[in-house]
Amino acid sequence: MAIDAATVKKVARLARIAEPDDKLEPLARELSGILDWIEQLNEVDTDGVAPMTSAVAASLPMRDDVVTDGGDPAKVLANAPKTERGFFVVPKVVE
């Protein structure tokens, strides 16, 4: 088995997804099944192969460093769960 319950717990914490303890074991089995299947990639000889990082050969275009958008706080806040006086309201971050 590629990963165990403790690893799932760690990864879920990294991904910021609360997973109850009783779900960790089944998840570990499920994810291990997928990762075991992925292991077949090791059969491929990739020595000296450059990793493919983009589906297009084109280089990224540059644009002038000028403001092109903005100045519309109402639109930015329109879908916020909680706002106050033109700001997002979020839980306390600093004690």
Binding site: L14, L31, I34, I38, L41, N79, A80, V90
Partner: protein, 490 residues
């Protein structure tokens, strides 16, 4: 006027131009069809008032001689596209009632050309799935049924709502997206035409991101020509997407019906997989014969790394997804589930907001990108991806296009594969290679299986050579003469 929903997009546009009916009449017929088909669960949001308003505006433009390419044509929009002022959820609970204050570039292009929006179409949550069963709104039901049966079948995924709505004549055409096969597999399962264009043809701006190096928009339609008309409007360079290609969009419809004589079509031998139903094998051979009859030269080619495409995809796509979906933190939009502190609020929000398959992929993605595993998984997958792209480059030195089956089976029953993630992933075995290489791929309905369910053939083209796919695609369409439609039971 139910006969108006039976028209192809091309015939509807001709009828509008000739004044045989108005966009208002055409749109009303589709609104009625949409409202009468709720059992299919294809639409997650109907926008009839907006549709009729857009239709009236279109009739006004036409009267003034200002009609655009798609003027007055009622379309369905996959819920992955942000539509200004209209709820867009990617069929995830985490987006809640998210109502964009902006319009995606692809849909903006459609409205620029005069199209009418009927509503938002169901899909797998964040486009992650092959059966539409991961949608927060429940699965779409395929309008097709096994002959003499009434079991509910999947329309495929992730663009299941788009494919079902087009097949059931609930719109003249639909937008869709394809990250690993999400346009082509549902098209094959519903007897419709779907094309995923070259990566970069369509702007990704305003489309909810899944895996950014693989995501690409395209149309689902009832004919090859309809798909060409839609793609011509949807595509185009967009400075707001840095991966959008700065190239001219040809009039794709002009390639339909062109002679394919002398074109070389490759048959990749690695697509003959174990356990493939004999009917699909036979249909593939039939397709080869059709193209031979049309004057194509058939060439056997080899794409040796084909079997590694799916496992490579299941590293690359979840890795990109885990990064893209980090934005759903409950702070700026969508669902927020409060906890005792900030971290707990994040964790609760994401636990409640994401469905099981999305969580599974985020966890896989987080794992393969985590310290100590990056080289073994992510870097390895990127190298294999290069191998797969190189395979295509070599094949395209010898041929103009490739012909393969679209999917390894016909539509299966809802629930049949939902307990086995890997079995579900194998649906994309023939389609996913194209996303990894950034190439265009098209599915064309080519026949029915013994149960009376549609099967599709896939054409794969060189980068930016969708034109050849439309030419060969219309040759396949003509030879197949696929006229079957689902019997209306809804």
């Amino acid at each position: 006027m139910s006969e108006l929903t039976e028209l192809t997009l091309k015939d509807a546009l001709d009828g509008l131009a000739a004044g045989r009916f108005s966009s208002e009449e055409l749109t009303r017929a589709h609104v009625e069809a949409m409202e009468a088909a709720r059992e299919l669960n294809a639409y997650v949001l109907e926008t009839p008032e907006r549709a009729l308003e857009m239709a009236k505006a279109s009739d006004g433009r036409r009267a003034r001689g200002e009609a655009g390419r798609l003027d007055g044509a009622p379309l369905g929009i996959k819920d992955l596209f942000c539509t200004e002022g209209v709820r867009s959820t990617a069929c995830s609970r985490i987006l809640g009632n998210f109502t964009p204050t902006y319009e995606s570039s692809v849909t903006a292009n459609l409205w620029r050309d005069g199209a009418v929006m009927l509503g938002k179409l169901n899909m797998d949550e964040f486009a992650m799935g092959s059966s539409n069963e991961t949608s927060a709104f429940g699965p779409v039901v395929n309008p097709w049924r096994i002959e003499g049966g009434n079991a509910k079948l999947t329309p495929g995924g992730s663009s299941g709502g788009s494919a079902a709505a087009v097949a059931a004549q609930l719109c003249l055409g639909a937008t869709a997206t394809d990250t690993g096969g999400s346009i082509r597999q549902p098209a094959a399962f519903t007897g419709t035409v779907g094309i995923k264009p070259t990566y970069g043809r369509c702007s990704r701006w305003g489309i909810v991101a899944f895996a950014s190096s693989l995501d690409q928009a395209g149309p689902i339609a009832r004919t090859v020509e309809d798909a060409a008309i839609l793609l011509t409007s949807m595509a185009g360079h967009d400075p707001k997407d840095s991966t959008s290609l700065p190239v001219e969009t040809p009039d794709f419809a002009s390639f339909c019906g062109k002679s394919v004589k002398g074109l070389r079509v490759g048959i990749p031998k690695e697509y003959r997989v174990d356990g493939m139903p004999a009917e699909i094998e036979a249909l593939w051979q039939q397709g080869i014969n059709w193209l031979k009859d049309a004057g194509c030269e058939i060439v056997e080619v080899s794409l040796p790394h084909t079997k590694y495409a799916l496992p490579a995809y299941y590293i690359v796509a979840p890795a990109e997804a885990s990064s893209n979906l980090a934005r759903y933190d409950g702070m700026r939009y969508g669902l927020r589930v409060d906890g005792a502190n900030l971290t707990e609020t994040y964790e609760n929000t994401r636990a409640e907001g994401f469905g099981a398959e999305v969580k599974r992929r985020i966890l896989i993605g987080t794992y393969v990108l985590s310290a100590g595993y990056y080289d073994a998984y992510y870097l390895k997958a990127q190298k294999v991806r290069r191998r797969i792209a190189d395979d295509f480059d070599q094949a395209f030195e010898k041929v103009d296009a490739l012909l393969t089956p679209t999917a390894p089976s016909a539509a299966f029953a809802l629930g049949e594969k939902s307990d086995d993630p890997v079995a579900m992933y194998l649906n994309d075995i023939f389609t996913v290679t194209v996303n990894l290489a950034g190439l265009p791929g098209m599915s064309i309905p080519a026949g029915l299986d013994a149960n009376g369910l549609p099967l599709g053939l896939q054409l794969i083209g060189k980068a930016l050579d969708e034109g050849t796919l439309f030419s060969i695609g219309s040759a396949v369409e003509k030879a197949a003469d696929f006229k079957a439609r689902p019997q209306k039971w809804w």
